[in-house]
Amino acid sequence: MDLKLSPFPTLEKQMPIEHGRFEAYVDNGGTVLAVGGPDYCVIAGDTRMSDGGYGIQTRKYTKIFQLTDKCVLATSGMQADTLALQKRLKTMLSHYQKEHGKPMSTPAIAQFLSNTLYYKRFFPYYTFNIVAGIDEKGEGCAWTYDAVGSHERVKYASQGSGNQLVIPLLDNQVAKFNQQIIAGGNVTSQQAVSFVKDAITSAGERDIYTGDYADIVVVDKDGVHWEKFELKLD
């Protein structure tokens, strides 16, 4: 017989449940993109933060984070993870600066972000990143990532909820793919800013998670220049 004397009987607790099970990930949405030129890089990101559904939590949360004078990080996805990632990179870059007496180069930051993301491979940061800026030669550069650290150096990139809407526009206007009449080639900084504004406005037209305002950031040899740009509030 399997009788047990126990002073503490184990009971299944029965409680009223109104909330779902705990969900550790939330997608706060948003679109970020970057275009690299010969001696500059333009980065844009909207400032809407959604609640994971139809609600807008705030209209002025900036998704672009300055890492050095030559490099910024643009992130969409889960805001809480983004914040943790930014704090981590900031402290690690500060350590690097103090150890080596110089800021980390943009390509090195790009690799370092990949390692940082892969370090959390089995409980990932739910973040979709672009690292962009100018490299040691002064050329504009951008890297795109997935949530676990796969990355690629590219001429232009977009990430986030409006990614699918932005990418074809950049393929056409920046890379000038499959156009026999127009010659490809470099675009000027002003042209790139103009593309990027059009791109993010277009994303805001159809993507409900993109809108309110956009940060337009230009990185060149003189540093990082910020501009505010209005999008639709609906």
């Binding site: 705990f22 609640d51 609600g55 889960m78 805001q79 914040l83 943790a84």
Partner: protein, 259 residues
């Protein structure tokens, strides 16, 4: 493991489990992450807050529900921390009490340093955000939506933190049903009147809590309003909201036709 014996002999049977003491962990073993993951039991509903010209105003009702049962009718859901900060909480009451203890320890520690500096609202806000995020990383969240407000050195502070660690600062912040019902009303009111004074802000909060009481079934009409401005922090005594008539019969028909 305890064995059952037909004829227990005193001294041979471990009646009181001395050999295998039952700690809390033994009684309720943490088998996997699922055991840690909790549901909220006693919950508060919305918190709403807005910055006005010269400070911040926050409002909550005083009900804490047990599922659909209106269990505790007079619970203060806002607390002062240090000299400049008030936090309002929705969600699990016990988690907020636990967080309050943690924060009071922090405030005490800061006081003991005795360097004349005091914790600012933004310091407390960032600390709370890290606590919430670290709990979610352990799969053991503090089930709250928190609104942090304060006033220090001539500037207002208003921010929100939730159970996964999402945090942001804004001029208008609402949690729970408030984010669906009160937030649009407050955004419109702020747009129509960008330089709101204290009285107008208080009235707005009160009106929004009344609207919430009409539609949010987990809310009550017993509310509190707190203010942070250059005069310091103040959490009001309980206020009983004026609502539409609740009589039955002829009087109800009359009052309804006036609406």
């Amino acid at each position: 493991m305890q064995q059952h014996v037909s004829f227990p002999v005193f001294g041979q049977n471990d009646y009181f489990n001395y050999k295998n003491p039952q700690t809390l962990e033994n009684r309720m073993p943490v088998v996997d992450a699922k055991k840690k993951t909790q549901d909220p039991i006693v919950t508060g509903t919305s918190v709403i807050a807005i910055k006005y010209n010269g400070g911040v105003v926050m409002g909550t009702d005083m009900l804490c529900s047990y599922g659909s049962l209106a269990r505790f009718n007079s619970i203060q859901r806002m607390e002062k921390f240090g000299s400049y900060t008030i936090i309002g909480a929705g969600g699990e009451l016990s988690d907020f009490q636990s967080l309050s203890n943690t924060l009071n320890d922090l405030v005490t520690l800061d006081h003991c340093i005795d360097d004349g500096s005091k914790l600012s609202p933004s310091e407390i806000y960032n600390y709370v955000a890290r606590v919430m995020y670290n709990h979610r990383n352990k799969g053991d969240p503090l089930w709250n939506s928190l609104v942090v407000m304060g006033y220090q050195n001539g500037s207002s502070f208003l921010g929100k933190v939730d159970l996964v660690g999402t945090c942001f600062k804004d001029d208008i912040v609402c949690t729970g049903y408030g984010a669906h019902i009160a937030l649009p009303l407050m955004r419109k009111a702020a747009l129509d009147n960008p330089n709101m004074n204290l009285e107008q802000a208080k009235k707005l909060i009160e009106d929004c809590l009344r609207v919430l009481f009409y539609r949010d079934a987990r809310s009550s009409k017993k509310i509190q309003i707190s203010v942070a401005n250059e005069n310091g922090l103040e959490i009001s005594e309980p206020i009983e909201l004026d609502t539409y008539m609740w009589q039955s019969g002829e009087a109800a028909v009359k009052s309804f036709s006036q609406v």
